[in-house]
């Protein structure tokens, strides 16, 4: 068994047990009718059972995909930029903030300054016009 499968199985097993445990704390059913805790317990039980099955089975080696370290850094960097952009959501200046985020991310992904700046501006303007002005979605 590879590390990915062990991690997946372990994660789901923990989640399944947590669901069953939290389901016990939810209101039980009345008069033979299932209550709010019935489905969490049933789904948690099923999840734990399937996860245990994944952990104990012997096959499955080799299904893990390896990612080059440099690419993994790019994934992590892009994700960090995304969450940074999201944390600043609602602070105003949507157009400037979005264009800056796009430009930074495109630069991080290896694009040249000028084309990246042009594309960031055009894409931001299009999205702003379509959503904020066209569909009346308040992006600020």
């Amino acid at each position: 068994m590879n590390r990915g499968e062990t991690a997946t199985g372990g994660l789901f097993l923990a989640l399944g047990i947590a669901l069953v445990a939290s389901g016990l704390g939810l209101p039980p059913g009345v008069g033979g009718l299932p209550g709010a805790g019935f489905f969490p317990q049933a789904i948690g039980g099923l999840m734990a059972l399937l996860a245990a099955g994944l952990l104990v089975r012997r096959s499955g080696a080799g299904s893990e995909e390896s990612v080059p370290a440099s690419n993994l850094m790019q994934v992590a960097g892009t994700a960090a930029l995304l969450f940074g952009y999201l944390l600043l959501w609602g602070t105003g200046f949507f157009a400037a903030r979005t264009a800056a985020f796009l430009l930074l991310t495109l630069r991080f992904l290896g694009q040249k300054w000028m084309p990246a700046a042009g594309y960031s501006g055009v894409l931001t303007a299009f999205v702003y016009l379509a959503f904020d002005m066209g569909l009346n979605v308040s992006l600020e």
Binding site: G4, E5, A7, T8, F12, L15, G16, L19, S22, L26, P27, G31, G32, L33, P34, G35, A36, F38, F39, P40, I43, L46, M47, L50, A51, G53, L54, R57, S63, E64, E65, V67, N71, Q74, V75, T78, A79, L82, F83, Y85, L86, W89, G90, T98, L102, T105, L106, L109, G110, Q111, Y119, S120, L123, T124, V127, F131, L135, V137, S138, L139
Partner: protein, 502 residues
């Protein structure tokens, strides 16, 4: 009757009506092809524009959006693995692998043709079988809806490919995510962690955009400069060859039939219909190993099914006044504003208007097919855009589209978290299709089972005495056991062959 049909046709063959229809189809194509914008959103946003025009003109525009958005949802599903609408999830399963093989043009062509076939078949159903289908759908109570959801969930194993156990785990995670929010029967908050934003549950569309959109972007970044690039950039031919068309015919028709039937059931739309049709086609196909890897049959059946749900939903809406899906719920509102009450009386008192709707749907289907075929090459040029530019477009449209659904930042968080999860799952070979199935069907299964049990006062045996539910339960058991039965039959055949050889 002929007079009513001709009157209905004459009302539609008006330049203003046709103009509104063309505008609606074009706008629908835009809404469908941009991830985050859905047919429901398009119809909802543009309904107020129809208040100042006649019923025929207004309905032409709204039906145009509906018929245009669903096939267009398949375009980003095929080209960039991001379903444009929830109904086109299954389209990406075979459409995107075809793009990776350099057959984006063919995939787009099949999307246009099979979508039109699905829509036209379901319109025929609407024209000829509206009443029997609607009467059948009317028999559905909570127990039957539970049965339908159960059957849908049993398809998890089928849509998991080689990783059945992981697929079932992903499906159970989808079911668990569907628990977030108020308990459907007692309104007791579950897993909301004290946040009011979670009381309505986790929105399905942002999760879908995250899993399939952002997740795919991160996967492509991680595979950068590796053999698994975005695509070859080759578009290839658009029209299928005659032999290919012949192999897809059965799958298209079966997809159209399943889609129409599922669409006719209130609250069960093209997303559920296309998954059920895809899995049914896979099970009955002689080349089931190709499904999920660029099968033409798989693509044709899913496209036909998600589009056939339109006619099914319209049938239920017009004959019973019950919305078959979210779009038809808005359409009912638009009709009422124009003084038209959908329901059995509409068929008795205003038959020509019903035929006008049928003709509008036919013209809209043909128009979107033409747009789909003629626009396939220009649309497929999207593949020549530098990948980072495409990724940023997906991310920004996904982000703003998720936010626009409810004007809530929590939906964007859901999309980003789902995106990271989608990336990790794909790297760990965990299939995403079952997760989506669980998320869609979880609430439907739980609320209807509990409602049905209230009606039977907690008596499970009484619940199982309903014939339609029994059919669904039998189909569920069969669908779960079928792979085992087939494997056993194959083994028996192999043993028989070996013993006869000896």
């Amino acid at each position: 009757m002929i007079g009513e049909i001709l009157a209905g046709l004459a009302a539609v063959l008006d330049w203003h009506v046709l103009g509104f229809l063309a505008a609606g189809v074009s706008l629908g194509a835009v809404f469908g092809s941009l991830p985050g914008l859905t047919a429901t959103m398009g119809v909802a946003v543009l309904t107020p524009l129809t208040f100042w025009v006649s019923a025929e003109q207004g309905l032409a525009m709204l039906l145009g959006i509906y018929c245009g958005a669903i096939p267009a949802g398949g375009i980003p599903a095929i080209l960039i693995n991001v379903p444009g609408t929830p109904a086109s999830i299954a389209t990406s399963w075979d459409g995107y692998p075809l793009t990776r093989k350099g057959q984006a043009g063919l995939a787009l062509g099949i999307n246009a043709l099979a979508s039109a076939a699905g829509q036209l078949t379901s319109i025929l159903f609407l024209a000829f079988l509206a009443f029997p289908i609607a009467r059948f759908a009317l028999q559905f109570g909570p127990a039957e809806y539970f049965g339908l959801a159960l059957l849908g969930i049993s398809l998890m194993a089928g849509v998991s490919g080689r990783h059945v156990l992981k697929g079932m785990l992903a499906g159970s995670l989808g079911l668990a995510l569907a628990l977030v929010g108020l308990d459907p029967m007692t309104a007791y908050p579950r897993y909301t962690f004290g946040m009011s934003e979670f009381l309505d549950g986790i929105s399905f569309v942002p999760v879908m955009i995250g899993l399939f959109g952002l997740g795919e972007v991160l996967v492509q970044i991680s595979d950068r400069h590796a053999s698994r690039a975005v695509s070859s950039g080759v578009i290839g031919r658009i029209m299928p060859k005659a032999a290919e068309a012949r192999t897809m015919l059965g799958a298209t028709l079966s997809g159209a039939t399943v889609g129409t039937m599922v669409g006719a059931i209130p609250a069960a739309g093209g997303d559920i219909g296309s998954v059920i049709a895809w899995e049914q086609a896979r099970r009955t196909s002689s080349d089931k190993d190709k499904f999920g890897k660029g099968s033409l049959r798989g693509l044709a059946t899913s496209c036909a099914a998600c589009n056939a749900a339109i006619g099914g939903a319209m049938t239920t809406m017009l004959t019973l006044g019950i919305p078959g899906d979210a779009v038809s719920a808005i359409l009912i509102g638009a009709l009422l504003i124009h003084g038209i009450q959908p329901g059995p009386l509409l068929f008795a008192n205003n038959q020509s208007f019903v035929f006008s709707i049928v003709f509008l749907l036919v013209f809209a289907s043909l128009l979107i097919m033409a747009i789909g075929i003629l626009g396939a090459k220009p649309l497929a040029r999207i593949l020549n855009i530098p990948p980072p530019w495409l990724w940023m477009g997906i991310v920004l449209f996904g982000t703003v589209g998720s936010y626009a659904l409810n004007n809530a930042v929590v939906d964007v968080w859901a999309m980003y978290v789902a995106g990271i999860g989608g990336f990790l799952f794909r790297k760990a070979s965990v299939p995403l299709g079952p997760l989506v199935l669980g998320l869609i069907l979880g609430p439907m299964m739980e609320s209807n089972l509990r409602r049905a049990l209230i009606l039977t006062r907690g008596d499970w045996l009484d619940l199982l005495s309903r014939p339609i539910l029994l059919v669904f339960v039998a189909a569920t058991i069969l669908s779960l056991l079928w792979p085992l039965i087939r494997a056993r039959r194959r083994a028996a055949k192999r043993n028989h062959r070996l013993s006869s050889d000896a």
